[in-house]
């Protein structure tokens, strides 16, 4: 039953919302607003918290910084490298796990493990896998006659190494979401499609994909946002450096460098703001595309 909001009911609701709201405002909303304002501080005495001058020069400086341009490029490469492969791979695995196989519960747990494991632990294990002399990956590639690759020290291969790690790390979450989506698709549609003469591929294309589109939409938005925010994996995989010769420098890593290492608060805030705008635009584009292709039941 919907009642009209009254002052009394609003106040009562506020009371319940207050605890969570306090924490959110203190640790999320306030910093977001503050960093947005801070991006316009061009002359700032952070010891005394005195703002001498405001302006747009941070943004100008940002786009003249080759490191930032590099960070933007790397981030885009990272997103393009991770998101599509991660979605295709996790959808394929989810479909396999959804079919009638033995020990499917066990497999689901195994695939979900990377997601719940600490990034640092995962990165340490992977840094051994990527090790140029003793790494499993090079050993495996050696079977196919591939010469050892300096995954973590060669600027050409640092980004691929990071992408591989990130795909693997993100797989579990996507698989779980896809599995939930697949299980909500009524079996009857597959039976009907079979009777209608649809082959396995057509059943996937004409039944699974459209009915999974809300899930697909959710997963792609979350994946893209997460990929744009990548930081922990880099920090852990390259021992607190943005890869050899800045080859794995991403926007968030750039923000981190400016903020914590160089104390350029204005510049860091401006970079964070630029990232926000990019993610925001991407999400808007996805929403528009989604409206056309996503079928809500």
């Amino acid at each position: 039953m919907m009642l009209k909001p009254t002052w009394k009911s609003t106040l009562k609701a506020l009371l319940y919302l207050l605890p969570a709201l306090l924490i959110l405002v203190t640790f999320n909303i306030y910093p977001i607003v503050k960093s947005f304002l801070m991006s316009f501080y061009t002359n700032y005495d952070f010891f005394k918290n005195i703002i001498n001058e405001r302006g747009f020069s941070n943004f100008i400086e940002l786009f003249q910084d080759p490191n930032f341009i590099q960070a933007l490029q790397n981030t885009v490469i990272f997103v393009i490298g991770v998101v599509p492969i991660s979605i295709i791979l996790s959808l394929a695995i989810a479909i396999l796990l959804n079919s009638k196989i033995k020990f499917s519960g066990l497999f689901r747990t195994i695939y979900f493990l990377p997601f719940v494991t600490s990034v640092v632990a995962v990165a340490i294990v992977w840094s051994w896998i990527f090790h140029s002399d003793y790494g499993l990956l090079n050993y495996f590639l050696g079977w196919f006659g591939v010469d050892p690759i300096d995954w973590l020290t060669d600027p050409t291969f640092a980004m691929p190494a990071l992408i591989i790690l990130s795909i693997w790390k993100g797989l579990g979450f996507n698989i779980i979401i896809f599995l939930a989506g697949l299980q909500s698709v009524n079996e009857q549609y597959y039976l009907a499609a079979k009777v209608d003469g649809a082959s396995a591929w057509h059943r996937f294309k004409s039944v699974t994909l459209p009915l999974l589109s809300p899930t697909m939409f959710f997963v792609s938005i979350i994946s893209i946002i997460n990929a744009f925010k990548v930081f922990d994996e880099i920090f852990a995989l390259f021992n607190g450096k943005p890869g050899p010769a800045n080859s794995a420098l991403t926007v968030v890593y750039y923000v981190y460098q400016k903020f914590y290492e160089e104390w350029e608060f204005g510049l860091a805030s401006a970079a964070a703001f630029v990232l926000f705008i990019i993610v925001f635009l991407f999400t808007i584009i996805q929403l528009i595309i989604g409206r056309k292709f996503v079928h809500y039941q």
């Binding site: 009524n186 009857q188 549609y189 039976l191 009907a192 499609a193 079979k194 009777v195 209608d196 003469g197 649809a198 082959s199 057509h202 004409s206 039944v207 459209p210 009915l211 589109s213 079928h295 039941q297």
Partner: protein, 369 residues
């Protein structure tokens, strides 16, 4: 195309859902698979569709053995209980889907869809999504989708069970109309005897995976082959009285002290047998002419019928009586029946011994529904 089932058997783990069914469905016939839930009728349909593969036995479409052929290749049309219309496709695209799978050119496909939509009278709804349709309209779309590829066999899995009572009546006549207009062989699964008996050419009655009886609807009602067939058909249900022979060669009704004598029982040599009496065949008579008598414990009038329930010792008997008779609850009442209307069954095997009337008097199926 005749459809022939040969010793068809389906086992799920320990349970036998379908137990060696052998029958032939003739070309152009509408056959109902009737039975209580869990009797194997839907499994039989799934076997016909190819969505299930039998554990033993064979299926023939005409001369072709299709036992192991996949559903995709059988070229059958199927209407599912909840219609299973693709929710993301418009009515047009739903109906066109089977044609798209056959790679029919688009122009031609649309034309065939239009034809089919006209046949099932939904040509004004082609742009809608399934969610925007009523149950009856969804049903029509499902039938159109099943028929558009001109299948040789149409399967309908409880197609009317999700509709309300009035619409059900309308749709069942529609299904009959469409089936006859197209001239397609159709198999119709239902648990509703009224549905089965009203529209089918032949009824196949199943119980526990076993085919109990297959006949023309009226025949099955008039001459049930066993106790199950007699008890499953008819509403209100048939009355059963178990009779035991006494020392002086009369029969006593089990659970009561009343003895019973009928001329047609002369042939009886059995120590005990079961007598089936349809409620509509019983009529009230003066005390001395009655077959048996008892106290009226319940009475209800629905529409044109008056149903009474009579207590005979431990057993009760239902009878449909003349609404004009001035009977009241608590009255004593005697009932009689024409001898040829009595069904006799062996209580051990459940098989029919004798009785039942072949002549085609109007059965009382819908009267009390």
């Amino acid at each position: 195309m005749d459809v022939h089932l040969d010793q068809l058997t389906m086992q799920f783990n320990d349970t036998t859902a379908v137990d060696s069914i052998t029958t032939t469905i003739k070309d152009g016939e509408l056959v109902s698979l009737l039975g209580p839930s869990g009797c194997g009728k839907s499994t039989t349909l799934m076997l016909l569709s190819g969505l299930y593969k039998p554990t033993a036995g064979d299926i023939y479409f005409g001369d072709e053995k299709v036992t192991t052929m996949d559903a995709e290749k059988r070229g059958i049309g199927m209407v599912f209980q909840n219609y299973a219309l693709y929710p993301h496709l418009s009515v047009l695209k739903n109906i066109m889907f089977p044609l798209k799978m056959q790679k029919v050119p688009k122009k031609e496909a649309i034309q065939q869809v239009m034809e089919m939509a006209k046949l099932v009278q939904i040509d004004h709804l082609l742009d809608r999504k399934p969610a925007q349709l009523s149950g009856g309209q969804q049903q029509r779309v499902a039938i159109a989708r099943a028929l558009v590829k001109k299948p040789k066999l149409l399967l309908l899995d409880e197609p009317l069970s999700n509709l309300d009572a009035r619409l059900r009546l309308e749709m069942r006549e529609e299904i009959r109309r469409i089936q006859q207009e197209v001239g397609i062989t159709a198999v119709f699964v239902t648990h509703d005897q009224e549905e089965a008996l009203s529209i089918s050419d032949r009824v196949m009655l199943m119980n526990n995976g076993v085919l109990q009886q297959e006949n023309a609807p009226q025949q099955m009602y008039r001459k049930p082959e066993n106790i199950f067939a007699a008890s499953f058909l008819g509403n209100p249900p048939i009355n059963f009285l178990t009779l035991h022979k006494t020392e002086n060669n009369t029969y006593v009704i089990q659970g009561s002290s009343q003895t019973l004598e009928l001329p047609s029982m002369k042939w009886q040599t059995h120590e005990a047998f079961q007598m089936g009496l349809r409620p509509e065949d019983l009529y009230t008579v003066p005390e001395e002419e009655g077959l048996f008598s008892g106290e009226i414990i319940h009475m209800e009038t629905i529409g044109r019928d008056t149903l009474i329930r009579l207590q005979l010792g431990d057993v009760t008997v239902r009878a449909l009586v003349d609404p004009k008779s001035r009977l009241r609850v608590g009255d004593r009442c005697s009932l009689a029946i024409e001898p040829q209307e009595v069904h006799y069954f062996d209580p051990k095997t459940g098989e029919r011994l004798r009785g039942g009337n072949d002549n085609d008097a109007q059965a009382n199926l819908e009267k009390h529904a």
